[in-house]
């Protein structure tokens, strides 16, 4: 399983706005293997979506700039490719599914044409052949009556169905990497289960690698092989899913897991609260651990430098000066 498909190295994406320099992604490094399902977890504004857009080179400029780092995909650094070369990868080798299907689909174009477009551009299919392929894709993502539905407009579909269409578009060129950015936040739980099972089946059918960006720890537990936890633009912890849930090493990860009400939790059990607010990237001190103001383990050393990822066990990394002390304290 050490067949690396994508490696992000020290990625830094900044936004230059009125309030100053927002370091949305500030030294992010991780990798994903072929056929692996990796979750990128964090709260809003932790940089998880910006990191995905950076991989696609879709950061709006201005105000956003990828100021440094490397994104190695298939042996090439995506950040050094020309716009032309990038266009041949985007939607073809790497595809993305966004959070809100209603705003991502073109409302005045039938869905068949929207799916067919990528097939014509990337796979050189004729208009008719691309349309036929679009029907097959709709069937694949479980849209009933696909022959008729291919000629419908987005508004004629429910939210869950629209998201299926987005998935059909994303997988149309059989991408090696599928990035799903909060794909199920705008749909109901029973539909969420359907969509996540569909995304997960791509991995087994086509050995697509999947990066799932989410704040839903339940979904992560059910589907991901590996979890990357982001806080203020960086990874604070990275490890195999079972290890992260059983032995989280970073206080933020522990806090996240303990602060979510669980379905199997009885009412008497109490929720642990992470105090304070998610960090404000414009005002965040940059040379100390970003989590100090909300952490109950903060000591002097946490205020002196920003911790780097350290290995705790096989494939398990944490960026915390006190992770050894904490693991002793927690037995």
């Amino acid at each position: 399983m050490s067949d690396k498909l994508l490696e992000v190295r020290n990625l830094r994406t900044y936004f230059y706005v009125k309030r100053g320099e927002l370091r949305a992604v500030d030294g992010l490094s991780y990798s994903i293997d072929k056929g692996q399902f990796v979750a990128l977890v964090g709260e809003s504004a932790c940089g998880k979506s910006v990191s995905a857009l950076s991989i696609m080179r879709l950061i709006p400029y201005p105000p956003g700039v990828i100021v440094g780092g490397e994104i190695i995909f298939d042996g090439k650094d995506l950040l050094r490719l020309s716009e032309e070369e990038m266009r041949s990868i985007r939607g073809n080798r790497i595809a993305i599914v966004f959070q809100e299907p209603m705003t991502s689909l073109n409302p005045v174009l039938i869905v068949g044409r929207q799916i067919a477009e990528a097939l014509e551009i990337h796979r050189g299919l004729s208009r008719q052949a691309a349309m036929n392929e679009a029907v097959n894709l709709l069937k694949l993502v479980g849209i009933p009556d696909a022959e008729r539905r291919v000629g419908h407009y987005p508004y004629q579909f429910s939210g869950g169905m629209q998201q299926r269409i987005m998935i059909a578009m994303a997988i149309s060129c059989n991408p090696a990497l599928l990035i799903a950015d909060e794909p199920t936040t705008s749909v109901d739980v029973t539909v969420q289960a359907q969509l996540m099972d569909l995304i997960n089946s791509l991995r087994t059918q086509f050995s697509t690698s999947i990066i799932l960006i989410t704040h839903n720890l339940g979904v992560v537990a059910r589907y991901a092989d590996h979890v990357n936890v982001m806080y203020a633009g960086r990874l604070v912890e990275s490890g195999p899913t079972d290890v992260i849930y059983e032995k989280p090493a970073h206080p933020y990860t522990m806090g996240l897991i303990a602060s979510v009400p669980r379905l199997d939790m009885h009412r008497k059990q109490s929720l642990r609260v992470i105090p304070g607010l998610p960090p404000d990237l414009a005002r965040l001190p940059r040379d100390i651990c970003a989590f100090t103001s909300r952490c109950r383990f903060t000591l002097g050393e946490c205020m002196k430098a920003r911790p780097l990822l350290e290995q705790v066990s096989e494939n398990h990394f944490v960026a915390c000066f006190r992770h050894r002390d904490i693991s002793v304290m927690r037995g």
Partner: protein, 327 residues
Amino acid sequence: MKGNGSLIQVKELVKYFPVHAGIMRRKIADIKAVDGVSFDIRQGETLGLVGESGCGKTTVGRCVLRLYDATNGHVFFEQKEITQLKGEQLRCLRRDMQLIFQDPYSSLNPRMAVGDIVGEPLLVHRLVSRSDEYRQKVAELMRMVELDPTMSDRYPHEFSGGQRQRIGVARALATRPKFIVCDEPVSAVDVSIQAQIIKLLMRLKKSLNLTYLFIAHDLSIVRYISNRIAVMYLGKVAELTDSDELYDNPLHPYTRALLSAIPVPDPKIDRQRKRILLSGDVPSPLFPPSGCRFHTRCWMAKDTCRESEPKLTESGSNHWVACHLTM
């Protein structure tokens, strides 16, 4: 469902929204948002109301508060029917019943200082007469929701999502209500902030002796905060029971599917859970299916389910379910 000790009683509540079309704007159909819902909420309890979008849970909350006028049915508050109240009587009632909204961004007036947002109900209901008393009450409300009273002069945009939701809670508390409808109060805030808001709501309920109707789609949160839970599907109550009982012993197939669709944030436990994957989407409330409304997605449906509508009946002690197959 007797009314002993209950603060709210809802009987056969119906709310249809007419759909108009054509030049003459003739009524062509009804959206049957709520179609015969009954429950009661006991003094001091939290009743959770869950279901997927379009199931009518928000409409129920608004009918109970008289923000919508019910098409049919009755709502009682403290044993008094409120469905027909008007004018001054209705205004007085509003003091006792408040609402916390889902979206802390659109539910606060961006041009008002937060102190005035919190204090406005005091003026509307003439609960204060002097300005020093007003300021003091506002400060007290801000402190109740753990906000710094010196921030009263600031505007909503200067606050984070979680803080704004606290402002919404403080505003709801201003008139010292007995009953609050919490409509998805945490679904728009960050995960680490959700627990803070839930704990705040639970603490306030205890200290102010409140009764909640807690509306949400996230069954994990509803289970945590509620004493009892009503599961709604397409304008009907499918199941109603204690929150632990609902989890341990769900009877309605929809409840079972809903529970199984929610992953538990623990990979080892989640792998051992039984999965039921429902097919399709929720049908339109414009043309709800005949018989049991769930039969189009139910994997156990029989002919009777298509033909006749199941009534909500008590199947165990305090466990109500509307399904032909569980009888």
